[in-house]
């Protein structure tokens, strides 16, 4: 069963920005976040999943992506793929449980899309979720989390 997350009080394109020393945390208010720096946005009966700008910029210029195939099942909090920059490699953890219904072929072909537009063209997956995603943060809470991590 697919569950809808309500964003009634949030406006599309509204961006919450917080500045602490040289760290600028950008978190559009039209989506939710987790502590692995993934974002998830409801889109019809699926969820779009991506990696936040804070995470992308910390990692460096993305050079390579490994993403699951359509039809694969994801479990919230579990690894689903990896990302490589010039000098670093790490894994993505899924913010939702469900089935992969689409992957971003454009980002696979040109991974720098993640650096250029992490909240837009740099999305990673579309997932048909199983149940309601739990334990996610709204934009304000995510920004507070990032800032607390940086202290």
């Amino acid at each position: 069963m697919t569950t809808v997350i309500h964003f009634a009080t949030l406006t599309w394109g509204d961006r919450m920005l917080a500045k602490r020393t040289d760290i600028k945390v950008e978190a559009p208010a039209d989506r939710l976040y987790d502590k692995n720096h993934m974002w998830v946005r409801k889109d019809g009966d699926t969820y779009i999943v991506g990696w936040t700008r804070h995470a992308v910029e910390s990692a460096g210029d993305v050079s390579y992506l490994v993403l699951p195939k359509r039809g694969e099942r994801l479990e919230a909090g579990k690894d689903f793929g990896s990302v490589e920059t010039g000098k670093w490699v790490g894994r993505f953890a899924s913010p939702v449980s469900g089935e992969v219904v689409d992957i971003n072929a454009g980002a696979m072909k040109d991974p720098s899309t993640l650096n250029d537009d992490p909240f837009g063209k740099g999305w990673l997956l579309k997932v048909k979720a199983k149940g309601t995603p739990k334990g996610l943060l709204d934009a304000g809470s995510y920004i507070k989390f990032v800032r607390s991590q940086d202290k």
Binding site: E57, S58, A59, G60, D61, Y64, S82, E84, T85, G86, K87, W88, V89
Partner: protein, 340 residues
């Protein structure tokens, strides 16, 4: 834009100096800030494995070398940032200036060394080509304050050199000039083995015996070998090539280390069909040297560690790290033992 006014710096250096954002896998740190000279006309050499080769480089717009981008910055900005970075973190302890093959390179490299030395007070290494750097240029480099001269011979035999860098690839380099360059550098810098280095790339077609015997030759000449593992550079004439097998590279790292530490010489080692089968030392010593792990760390001038220059971070994550930029931990050592 051209040197000495501007230089390119490695991605790792750009990250360390704060010019580029990014992280190092396993929180590696960079010990040596690598600079590369640049000219609008590019490099006149045509080495088959190099991203700067004349026939494939897009001249000033070619930014790739050793797997990553090399952005260009004003030299003075790099010197200032290096000075600050070294003050903040003593791990940053050296600057290395690499030359391109151009007639004007010796004059400009000496100027870069002089300014870097004056502006940072760090140790300075130079990576030069004897095709254009003669003994008088090496003397000028030393006078400008450089502690090290390294010659990138890269190939272990005259035949491979000719094929990769010489006439057979329409390049200007010759084996004889490079061997004379090593001798000249040792003459100028002295026989202290930290002063003169020779870069060798493993995996260009040499046998283990050829590699080890040439390493020994370099040590006999008074130079120290800095080992690299071939990585098929995107856009180079060898982009379709393969990295050498890991067991081959591990044996070469260990052999280099044993020679480097004066524990053995190549003539005591045994080879079968070109493959190293006996290091000429008791097994107990060999095992102890492997367990120390240092043989598998980046070899270079003191402080140089080149994180993830010979492999992708993903390969490093899979345990396929060629040159460890930090001391291998117990898990790494266990993995290395299994790779022989």
């Amino acid at each position: 834009m051209a040197s000495p006014k501007t230089v390119r710096i490695s991605l790792a250096a750009a990250m360390t100096l704060g010019f580029k954002k990014g992280r190092f896998y396993r929180d590696a740190k960079l010990g040596c800030i690598n600079l590369l000279m640049e000219y609008d006309e590019g490099c006149t050499a045509n080495c088959r494995y190099c991203g700067q080769a004349r026939e494939i480089a897009d001249r000033p717009t070619c930014k790739s070398l050793i797997r990553v981008s090399w952005p260009s910055y004003p030299l003075e900005k790099v010197i200032e940032a290096t000075r600050k970075a070294a003050k903040q973190d003593r791990f940053v302890q050296r600057v290395c200036v690499s030359a391109l093959t151009r007639r004007e390179a010796p004059r400009d490299l000496v100027e870069i060394v002089r300014r870097v030395k004056l502006g940072t007070r760090l140790k300075v290494s130079t990576l030069i080509t004897p095709t254009v750097f003669k003994r008088k240029d090496m003397e000028a480099i030393k006078k400008a304050g450089a502690e090290n001269i390294t010659i990138a011979v890269d190939c272990c035999t005259p035949e491979i050199f000719e094929q990769m860098r010489g006439k057979r690839t329409k390049g200007p380099h010759s084996w004889e000039t490079y061997l004379k360059g090593i001798k000249d550098a040792v003459h100028v810098m002295g026989k202290d083995r930290n002063s003169v280095g020779v870069h060798l790339i493993m995996g260009l077609g040499e046998s283990e015996e050829e590699a080890v015997r040439f390493m020994q030759q370099c040590y006999d000449l008074g130079a120290r070998v800095h080992l690299f593992s071939f990585y098929p550079e995107k856009g180079s004439l060898m982009e379709g090539g393969e990295q050498p097998p890991l067991d081959f590279y591990r044996r070469m790292q260990l052999a280099r280390s044993l020679i480097d530490k004066d524990l053995v010489t190549a003539d005591k080692m045994r080879f079968k069909d070109g493959q190293l089968v006996d290091y000429g030392l008791p097994e107990k010593i060999i095992k102890a040297e492997v367990r120390k792990g240092k043989a598998f760390m980046t070899s270079g001038c003191p402080g140089c560690n080149r994180p993830y220059a010979n492999e992708t971070p993903s390969q490093a994550q899979q345990g396929l790290l060629r040159n460890y930029p930090f001391p291998p931990n117990a898990e790494d050592i266990e993995r290395i033992e299994g790779q022989f």
